[in-house]
Structures are given as C-alpha cells and as structure tokens.
C-alpha cells in the first residue's frame, strides 16, 4: 500500500469537508457537545494555571535569593538552643554567643572573599517629637547599602569617615521616615535612640520585605531600619556588645559582638567552595557551639530550582489528571454517540465509506471537541494572573486577616505574581489534542468495525 495515500487526508478541501461534517454532527447536540468540551476547557485551563502559579512561586523564591546576592555568603549569629537563659539556673546573667571580631578578621583573609561586611543590630525604640516607633537599629559599614541593594530616596548613605569619627549620624528607612516625620523633611532633624541623639543624613526607598527562605533565613523587613556606623553602635550604644533587655520584670542580657557577616566572593563559580572553607573556619573557632549559621544564597537558589521542579511536576500532574478526566468524558460521549448513530454508520458504509473513512469522521469529531476546548482553555489560561488577582482580593478580605496575612504562607500568597510560561500554551493545547486522539480512537475504531449489515438493521 502506498503510504503517500494518507497525504490525501491533508488535502485542504478534504480537511475542510471533514471539519464541516464534524461540526454539523456536533451542532446537532449543542448542549451535549458543549458540556463535553467543558471538561477539556477546564483541564487545559488548570494545566496552564497550575504551571503559572508554580512559575510565579519559583520566580518569587529566586528573586528573594537573588536579593541576598548570588555571590554572597551570609554568616549569621544564632542563639544556641542549649544556652537559652533559664532563670532556675540562676547565675548566668549574660548569654554569650555568635560571631566575634576575630571571626571577621579570619574570614576576611580567605583569598576568594572580596570583602566582609559586619553588622550588629538590636531592637530599639526611636523617638522624634512626640512620636515613637519600634525599629531595628543596625550598625553597619558603608558597603551594607550596596550589598543589600538599598536605594536612596534623599540625602546620602553612611561613609567610611562617619565610622572613623564615631559619628552620631543615621540613615533611616522608608517606614521610619513616614511614621516619625509624617510630612516633615527628615534630613537634618535629630531623633532619639537609646538615649542618644542622631542626626538624619539620608532616607532609603521603600523595599518589599523578603519572605523567609525555608528554615535557614527568617524574613526581613528593611523598612523599619535605622542605619548608623557600626563603630558608633559598638562604642556608644552597646559597649562590649552587651545588649540588656527588660522583659516582664526580669532582665536578660546577651553578649553578641556581631550579628552577621556578609562575605562577598569574587565570582559565582567559587561560591560553593568558599562556603566550605567558611564553614570549616567557623567550626574551628566555635567548636560544637552551633551559634553561627552559614547561609549560602547560591545553595538556596539551587534548592529553589529543585523545589520549582518538584512544584511544577506535582501541580502539573494534578492538572493533567483533570485533563485526562476531560478525555474520559469525551470518550464516554463518543461511545454513546457511536451507539446512537449506528444506523448512520451502516448507511455510510453501504454508500461506500471505508473503515478508515468512519475512523476519520469520528476522530475529527473528537478532535474538534478537544481542540476547541483546548483553545478556549488556553485563552482562559492566559487570564490566570487576572483570575489570581481576583481570588487574592477575596482571600485578603475574608480569610487572611490579622496575623495570618503576615505569616510565611500568607506572604508567599499575597506577594506572588503568577506568570504564564509561554511554553505551557502549546504544551497544554497539544495535550488536549493528543487526548482527543487517544480517547477518540477507541470509539472511532468501534464505529468502523461495526458490521454494515448489523448496523443497517440497528433500530
């Protein structure tokens, strides 16, 4: 048999005729065809929507990691769990833990480290005029702004000379400026922090808070920060690094020299190697103390990518199942149609239709159903971001109230922007057509294999 014979299927006139025939049959039962199609519409829509949400979530995670800097290694002081101050054990007034100046010096000499940026931060209360605000007082070096991608609204950032002079100057973040100064221009004004006076030299722009990344890094809101030179903080605010806090009638004191050291590495290639060296170095200086976490954004990025893969597979398969359910719906209807139209099949066979003609006819019908459903699904899929906005609006109003909205999951939900990956459109549409073929083939073959004599006799 000449295989070129099948090319005749694709003759435009014949294709148009098959489509017209299929449409006539399908339009005979508009409601039935519409409902059958709906299964595929939702299947394709959910595949695209799920992939869009997965893509959005992973983009969000990636952006957060990239905000931390792909070439950065973060060493963070953490309170070791076994050293939590227990009043019954009495004596231990001051809990000492975390990074020391010595660590900074050691880490700074690792060859691949470009610079090491130390910070020390404490929770505090800032005051201006009659207004107060709970803020985070961050002692840092000028590099801090660049490394954390902060941008300037007015004024300037801290400079090296501010640190050398132990200057009482501060740069405040967006929310601090808004809460304390309202409509006033904060530049040149003086605020009170820990009984010390600081002159405002600059304000940073608003920056979206970062969500926590797994368990390794808690979320950070940069908008309630007050930045002062590290040297000023260490000498004038908490000399010796001891931060005393009053909690419900009792005192607790922590001695921490540095909260965090951000290491910037020459290039992304060596980040993971350097991270190993850093971990070893810290383990040598803090043997068994587990009071320093080393966070490597690059590692988190890799994890996020893996997570995105898993996410896409899981969401995609769930959606794919609904597509298959749609296909089963088509098959079901087509089987019923074949039974209902047995007589028609018999007539067509008597008038000269070959088995292949009957297969072509019924397959065209299922493909018109699934193809149209697929197209509608693609259009709906493109509207995923808008649909998500609407759902988010409802959820914000009715469900995510108060604390839930600030939670990790809530923040992930409210800050995520689903993006429809363009490759998902042909993919979902292709799957819908493929499902039309797969689930249409059996009914079509069943129709073609009917004995024409029996089919003609069918009532």
């Amino acid at each position: 048999m000449n295989p070129l014979r099948y090319l005749v299927f694709f003759h435009p006139a014949r294709l148009a005729r098959s489509l017209r025939m299929a449409l006539k049959s399908l339009l005979l039962h508009k409601l039935r065809s519409g409902l059958t199609m709906l299964g595929i519409v939702f299947g394709v829509f959910s595949v695209i929507a799920m992939l869009a949400i997965g893509e959005g979530a992973s983009t969000q995670a990636q952006q957060q990691v990239l905000q931390l800097g792909a070439t950065n290694i973060l060493c963070v002081s953490v309170k070791p769990p076994e050293e939590t101050s227990d009043p019954s054990q009495g004596r231990q007034w001051v809990v000492r833990y975390g990074l020391k100046e010595a660590d900074l010096k050691l880490l700074d000499v690792i060859p691949s480290v470009v610079r090491a940026i130390p910070i020390r931060e404490i929770g505090t209360e800032a005051r201006y005029g009659g207004r107060t605000l709970n803020a985070r007082l961050v002692g840092c070096t000028p590099d801090y702004f660049e490394v954390n991608h902060l941008s300037r609204a007015t004024g300037r950032f801290l400079t090296d000379s501010d640190g050398e002079k132990f200057a009482m100057r501060a740069v405040i973040a967006h929310d601090v400026a808004r809460e304390l100064f309202r409509h006033e221009d904060p530049l040149g004004k003086t605020i009170t922090v820990n009984q010390q006076f600081f002159r405002i030299i600059g304000v940073t722009r608003f920056r979206t808070a970062s969500a926590a990344i797994g368990s390794s890094l808690s979320g950070q809101d940069y908008n309630k920060d007050i930045y002062i030179p590290l040297e000023t903080l260490q000498t004038r605010i908490i000399p010796g690094g001891v931060d005393v806090q009053r909690k419900s009638g009792s005192f607790s004191a922590e001695e921490v020299q540095l909260n965090q050291i951000t290491l910037q590495v020459t290039d992304p290639q060596v980040v993971l190697q350097t991270a190993e060296t850093v971990r070893e170095s810290i383990e040598r200086n803090h043997p068994g103390m587990k009071d320093v976490h080393v966070v490597v954004p690059m590692e988190l990025l890799k994890q996020a990518e893996q997570l995105r893969g898993i996410f896409n597979v899981v969401l995609g398969s769930i959606a794919f199942i609904s597509l298959i359910v749609g296909g089963i719906g088509i098959m079901n209807i087509m089987l019923a149609t074949v039974t209902e139209r047995t007589r028609e099949i018999g007539v067509r066979r008597a008038l000269g239709a070959k088995q292949s003609d009957i297969i072509e006819q019924f397959l065209t019908e299922t493909m018109v159903l699934s193809g149209t459903g697929g197209l509608i699904g693609v259009v709906l899929g493109l509207l995923t971001p808008q649909a998500f906005q609407a759902v988010r609006g409802l959820a914000n109003r009715w469900i995510l109230e108060g604390s839930a909205a600030g939670g990790e999951l809530g923040r992930m939900f409210t800050q995520m922007e689903p993006t429809v990956p363009y490759w998902s459109l042909p993919l979902a549409f292709g799957f819908s057509v493929a499902i039309g073929v797969i689930f249409g083939l059996y009914p079509a073959r069943a129709a073609a294999r009917l004995d024409p004599i029996e089919a003609l006799r069918h009532e």
């Binding site: 005749v8 006539k24 005979l28 008597a350 008038l351 000269g352 088995q355 003609l456």
Partner: protein, 232 residues
C-alpha cells in the same frame, strides 16, 4: 445480451457455533442490463441474505458474483466499499437519510466516498440538483429529513442512489413504509428509471409492487423456487 450482474451457485453459511445456518444453498441468477426484477419470498427464505450479497455488503461462502465485469465474491473490505460506492445504488425501506444533513447534502454523501476522495466540484453539485429535480424535490434542497414526508424522503434516497451512476439499483422494500398513493408515485419513479435503462433489483413481498417489475423470482429455503407472477 450484456449482464449487469451474474450470480453463480452462491452459498452463504452462518456458523453460529453449535449449528451452521445455511441461508443460501446454491443460488444462480442472471440480471441482464436494463432488467427490473422483483425478488419475493417469505421471511427466512434467504432473500435478505441474497440482497446483502448483491449489495456487496457481505461475501459468499462459496460461489461467484460478477458485478459490472468485476468478480466481487472475494474482495477485501476496502474494495467492497469501492464497489458499493461505484456500482450499486441502495434504496432502503426506512429511507436512511442522514438527519443532520439537508436534502442536497444527503444526495452528495456517496460523492464523499468516491475512490481517491475527489473533492466535490460545482459540476457534482449541479448534478445533485438535477437529480433532486428529477425526483421532484428541486424546491426542497435546503430542507432536513424531518421536514419531509415519507414519500419525499424516499425520493431523496432515490436521487442519492443515482448520484454515482451505478450499475445496479438495489431496492429493499422501497414502499414498505408508505401509503398506497405514495407507493404508486415511488413505483412510477422506479419504472421511469428502468425505462431510461437502469437495472433495478427489488426485494418485496407485496404482489402489487412486484407486478411493476418485468419479472418476479421466488425464493424458498435458500434456493430459487421459481419465476413468474404467482397469484397470492
């Protein structure tokens, strides 16, 4: 005389597992071109089986069937489809029009299945319109079957049977569902076609209908029982 169709000692057995039903047990009959034959017989006589074989819907167990010069007794399924399409025009008792198609589209159906699937040209369409005119339905081309009376539907079926200019026309109880007035109209059309030279083979058990044909053959128990118009 040239033969349109020739059946030589045809047997058709159905194997039902425990028993073998011998529906045809050696039937021979010749149909010259331009013949108009009525095949009669009680139910179970084998006339339906013979009609199925004549219509190339089935293959005989033994024997030979020559149609328009082709031996169609042992062809493949696809070839039988081509034979039905090119050489046979079917007229059924219950018209068997396709519900979702208009009159014109119904007449066109056999053209869809022409060997090679030639697209339908405007000449083809004009031919279909001519045929509709011949059977008196020129003003109903856009009607659907449910908008037509039984007689009109059967006229559409006749036009459809003619569209591929077949060698023989097979009519299975063509007036079985019609009242006697319409019966006369339909038989007039068939007689007219026969006068134009068409070969018509008709299965019926009504003598009034059979009388219109040139000759009448009787079947009994899977065999030819005789020829001629028997009273009653």
């Amino acid at each position: 005389m040239k033969l349109a169709a020739n059946v030589r000692d045809i047997h058709k057995y159905y194997d039902l597992g425990s028993v073998v039903v011998k529906a045809l047990r050696g039937v021979s009959i010749e149909f010259p071109k331009g013949d108009f034959v009525a095949i009669m017989g009680s139910s179970g006589s084998g006339k339906s089986t013979l009609l199925n074989l004549l219509g190339a819907l089935d293959r005989p167990t033994y024997g030979q069937y020559i149609l328009g010069g082709y031996d169609v007794s042992q062809l493949t399924d696809d070839h039988l489809s081509d034979i039905r399409n090119r050489l046979i025009g079917f007229i059924f008792q219950s018209y068997n029009l396709i519900a979702q198609y208009t009159v014109l589209e119904n007449i066109e159906v056999p053209l869809h299945y022409r060997p090679g699937h030639k697209p339908i040209s405007s000449r083809d369409t004009n031919r279909c319109i001519d045929l509709a005119q011949q059977v008196g339905l020129a003003d109903r081309l856009d009607h659907r079957p449910y908008q037509l009376s039984g007689g009109q539907q059967q006229r559409v079926a006749i036009a459809r049977a003619l569209v591929n200019d077949p060698e023989i026309i097979l009519a299975d109880e063509p007036t079985g569902n019609l009242d006697s007035k319409t019966e006369v109209e339909i038989m007039d059309i068939l007689r007219g076609l026969n006068r134009q030279g068409r070969t018509i083979i008709m299965v019926t058990h009504e003598t009034s209908v059979a009388r219109v044909a040139h000759r009448q053959v009787y079947m009994k128990d899977g065999l030819m029982a005789g020829e001629g118009l028997f009273p009653g």
